[in-house]
Chain length 150, copies 2
């Protein structure tokens, strides 16, 4: 799909139609909810089924409890997941996607799939780029490979 004006993916949905260049703003706004460090991963994990906090944490390596609960809260706030507290002795809280949240599964997994699929290409491109630029900055340092731009 090359070069056209595909930015016309405006749905006839919104009643609060502000402007045209606005879709960028809207996208960014919503994307920030979902485009943070963990949200898509949580969505992706919950796509498999209902999970409790500790289970989610096991499935998402590297996430701290703070970030997990934070992320879950934001997703809940946006109506993408539900939080169900079972009044039992050892508290049990289950998280699940809402119907709106489920609409994110396909895009999320598609992006996740893209990430996995192009991971190698990206990493090698990155190395090539870094190598080329290190040469420019430090032509006399061939073998050192520790840079953490980011």
């Amino acid at each position: 799909m090359p070069a056209a004006q595909p930015r016309e993916s405006r749905s006839e949905y919104e009643g609060a139609c502000r402007e045209h260049g606005d879709s960028g703003a809207v996208i960014r706004e919503v994307l920030e909810r979902v485009g943070d460090k963990w949200s898509l991963l949580v969505i992706d994990t919950l796509a498999a089924g209902v999970l409790r906090l500790s289970e989610l944490q096991k499935h998402i390596p590297g996430i701290s409890q703070r970030m997990l609960t934070r992320t879950l809260r934001l997703l809940e706030r946006d109506g993408l997941i539900t939080r169900t507290v079972h009044p039992e002795v050892p508290p049990r809280v289950e998280y699940a996607l809402t119907s709106v949240g489920r609409t994110l599964i396909v895009p999320a997994q598609e992006l996740a799939g893209w990430a996995v699929e192009h991971q190698a290409a990206i990493l090698s491109a990155r190395e090539a780029y870094d190598a080329a630029h290190e040469e420019i900055n430090k032509p006399e340092n061939p073998g050192l490979d520790s840079r953490h731009m980011k």
Copy 2:
């Protein structure tokens, strides 16, 4: 089917396959490149065709030049876009998606479409949530509407 580990789309990558917990790490890593504040928007914008810096900035409201160039650099580093400098008097630099970069168009636009499509639902969910929680914290303050989470 509670919490299994489906959705495996392993490529020929890594030899250390514990569980799919790995793909989570990979996804997160790549997603961080593309899941930042502006990358997807830039990809999305470049999907329409080759553009120069100033044009990109016009198409992406709210982005500062610093963030634009930064984002472009990272995308270039990862081999998703190309940067072509035309040796002319008023310097002209054009940015375009690479073939790898173009593979991101579909997922990116799908996500962007999702954002636009569910914008209203998310906003109203958010308001409902905030209203409910404001009531809990400040039942005696029914007119104040200042929430700045996030």
